[in-house]
């Protein structure tokens, strides 16, 4: 795999291979020295045009655990604020010869565009409201750990689907893994035409008990000022996943950060059904697997790699 731009580009075998390798990397986090030399001498550039703590630090940690050199480049306070175009930024940073660029932007398709301007491997860490493929991969990984497999699983994605790149990537990834996906939320926040992705659409949580997995999306305060919902109070009344709505055998997921009391009640965040911290932990190993996939795996002649099929050299 040359780049990771979109879940659309992956098939089930790709997703399983990445998750399996992520599983193999889990052991690294348990070591006293949490590092393997798989990407020693490689340079990973984190290029973030949007504020991000979790995703950026998760990628940083993933790269460092693989012994890569990491450079963080935030758009604020940089040449971008002086009016440099995305293309010029990529060409400039490309002069440092990064092996991989992890990029987040507020613009759909930007990661794909960037992949045409640099020989570096591109990992999409979120492009506008389009996709967030590593989030979907870590969610699949978390669910495989919990459920064994996703075949036939009924997964409900609840909340602001319209503005969510997580929703789009996850609908595609869950379906590729054999799950049946339903999206539910206020009609103002369900994009017209989303059925074309093969998911069911609901405007209430009446049938939520059918779900094996409940995936709540973050509800942002500005949606209220834009009149997508009349108030967060009314939103919570209709769409909050709480102790009354969540069954004991259901799995609860959330991409974070959680708005307690809005999309999730406090008691479900702390409930045994919730796998939210497991998702965060999966973030590092899945991103290790992704970086390994696009860097080490793509180049079998890497000096420190004798057998690319063994992801964790002793």
């Amino acid at each position: 795999m040359r780049h990771l731009l979109s879940i659309e580009d992956l098939d089930r075998a790709d997703i399983e291979r990445i998750c399996d390798r992520a599983g193999a990397f889990e052991e690294v986090a348990e070591r006293e020295v949490k590092k393997v030399p798989a990407l020693r001498g490689r340079t990973v550039l984190n290029l973030f045009y949007e504020a991000s703590t979790r995703t950026r630090s998760s990628f940083e940690l993933a790269a460092k655990r693989l012994s890569a050199d990491v450079v963080n480049f935030a758009a604020s306070g940089s040449s971008v604020e002086k009016g440099e175009s995305l293309k010029d930024t990529i060409l400039t940073l490309g002069a440092h010869k990064p092996d991989a660029i992890v990029i987040r932007t507020p613009w759909a398709g930007a990661a794909e565009l960037v992949s045409r301007w640099t020989p570096a491997a591109i990992v999409n860490a979120g492009d506008g409201k389009h996709e967030h493929p590593t989030q979907a991969l870590l969610d699949v990984h978390t669910l495989r750990r919990r459920l064994g497999n996703l075949d036939g699983a009924k997964i409900w994605i609840v909340g602001d689907v319209l503005h969510s790149r997580v929703a789009r990537s996850n609908i595609l990834a869950f379906q590729k893994m054999g799950a049946e996906v339903t999206v539910a939320g206020p009609p103002t926040l369900i994009p017209r035409g989303i059925e074309a992705l093969g998911c069911d659409v609901r405007y209430t949580l009446d049938d939520l008990p059918q779900a094996d997995v409940v995936y709540a999306l973050r509800m942002q305060h500005e949606r209220m000022t834009d009149s997508f919902v009349p108030s967060l109070r009314e939103y919570a009344t209709w769409y909050q996943v709480n102790g009354r709505r969540l069954g004991p055998r259901q799995v609860l997921m959330h991409p974070g950060p959680v708005n307690r009391g809005v999309e999730l009640s406090a008691e479900v965040v702390d409930s045994p059904q919730a796998v939210i911290t497991a998702q965060v932990a999966a973030g590092v190993v899945v991103r290790m697997a992704v970086l390994y996939e696009v860097l080490a795996h793509a180049n079998a002649t890497a000096p420190h790699e004798t057998d690319p099929s063994h992801p964790v050299p002793a």
Binding site: S85, W107, G128, R192
Partner: protein, 444 residues
């Protein structure tokens, strides 16, 4: 006394004979292989073995077609202020290369063409630079701001063909009503870009399955159709004359049809890109496919084709909208709206609609010239004594759009890379040779 509406740079009258071309003009009824003599700005004679005037150039028309040259009522020439995208010379050169003998330029320049002195200086510049006759539509409202009328009567005396705020809608119904009332004094078609910004919002493409997949904010078709319906009501009430620009959806076609049925003085245009492409082309987020109104669904496209056939849509207009490479070489949502279209208009329609038998060639030729009369301009016609406005076209010639570059200063063409059939080899506009292919052979 109003100024003549079209201006161009001085050019010598051509003296030439096109020999052996298949001359086809659905208006004059001519449809035969014959010779056409051009002299003194006019079609001097038509007939086999017509005598060549003294010093005439002979053009070999064998295997080629001679059509009335086309008229485009909707182009952006970008002068003044945006000459890095296009200017009067490059824009009219692109038009001539596409077989056009006249174009109407939009006022959303920098500054906006909204006053008589500006219009005068622009027309003066066109008298030096324009390769084919150009007319100008100044703004309806000052600065395209939507709140104050321009001095429409003075602008008309200065040569305004009509008025438009193209690029932006006239959001206020009251403002449009006043413009239509004022039109009784000064005349001039009011051309409307129909869009309700409260519905289109920050949209960058058609709202539908593809935008849902891409997570790009959508522009719903109702943002156009509701405004078409509203403005048709206002025009009907005031007895005003409006022209609806770049129809894009089935509901807008229906709204225009219903208004025509009621007797409203309304006409409409459709662009080659809306007639030939759909939002599926946006899947790759290619910024050349970003235009306003956006490419919509196959059902919308079919409705536009049907509208063109039935005459609900009166003419084809390219909405030629050049943008510099660096402006389009950005993420889709950041890119400006627009595609170039002058150089590909005929070939694209011929390749995708005429060749497969969707529309007859004669109908496409009519719709490529019908824009003239809508704005009170003479319609190009091939008959003795008529002004010489001719496009010599090789219908068999295949070419790859963009290979060898463009005559336009910009390359943001939605058909870039496509293989099209039908190439303009010679354009005569208002009696002068405005374009000939570089490989064109002169037969002595």
């Amino acid at each position: 006394m109003a100024a003549s509406p079209l201006v161009r740079a001085d050019a010598p009258d051509a003296t030439l004979v096109v020999r052996g071309a298949h001359v086809l003009d659905p208006r004059s009824g001519i449809d035969e292989v014959t010779d056409v003599v051009v002299r003194g700005g006019e079609v001097a004679a038509i007939g086999r073995d017509a005598d060549a005037p003294e010093g005439a150039e002979t053009v070999d028309g064998t295997g080629r077609h001679l059509f009335p040259a086309f008229v485009d009522p909707h182009v952006h020439l970008r002068t003044p202020g945006q000459e890095h995208k296009e200017d009067l010379e490059t824009g009219t050169r692109a038009a001539a290369a596409g077989g056009f003998c006249a174009v109407l330029a939009m006022p959303n320049t920098d500054p906006v063409v909204d006053s008589a002195p500006l219009l005068r200086s622009l027309r003066d510049a066109a008298r030096l630079q324009a390769r084919i006759p150009v007319g100008f539509l100044p703004a309806i409202t000052r600065g395209l701001g939507g709140t104050e009328l321009t001095e429409m009567a003075e602008l008309r005396e200065e040569g305004a063909v009509g008025f438009t705020d193209d690029g932006r809608p006239v959001v206020s119904a009251g403002m449009l009503r006043k413009a239509l009332q004022y039109q009784r004094l000064c005349g001039g078609v009011i051309a409307l870009h129909e869009e309700d910004p409260s519905l289109s919002g920050k949209g960058a493409m058609h709202e539908g399955e593809v935008s849902a997949l891409l997570g790009v904010a959508g522009i719903p078709s109702i943002s156009e159709s509701t405004m078409v319906a509203r403005d048709a009501m206002i025009a009907g009430y005031e007895g005003g004359r409006i022209h609806v620009q770049h129809l894009s959806c089935v509901e807008s076609v229906a709204a225009v049809a219903a208004a025509k049925e009621r007797g409203v003085q309304i006409t409409a245009e459709a662009s080659p890109h809306h007639l030939l492409l759909t939002h599926e082309a946006v899947r790759t987020l290619d910024t050349r496919m970003k235009m306003n109104p956006p490419l919509r669904t196959e059902a919308d496209r079919q409705a536009l084709i049907e509208g063109l056939r039935s005459g609900v849509i009166d003419c084809v207009a390219t909405d030629h909208a050049p943008h510099a490479r660096d402006e389009k070489e950005v993420p889709f949502e950041q890119a400006p709206m627009g595609t170039t279209g002058l150089e590909t208009s005929f070939a694209a329609l011929y390749t995708e609609l005429v060749k497969p038998g969707v529309l007859p060639l004669e109908l496409v030729l009519r719709r490529l010239t019908d824009g003239a009369a809508l704005f009170g301009l003479p319609t190009p016609v091939i008959q003795p004594g008529a002004p010489a406005n001719l496009a010599l076209v090789d219908l068999g010639a295949e070419w790859v759009v963009g290979d060898g570059g463009y005559e336009s200063r910009s390359a943001n063409c939605c058909f870039d890379g496509r293989t099209l059939q039908g190439r303009v080899v010679l354009t005569v506009a208002a009696g002068a040779v405005a374009y000939r292919t570089r490989s064109f052979e002169v037969v002595a």
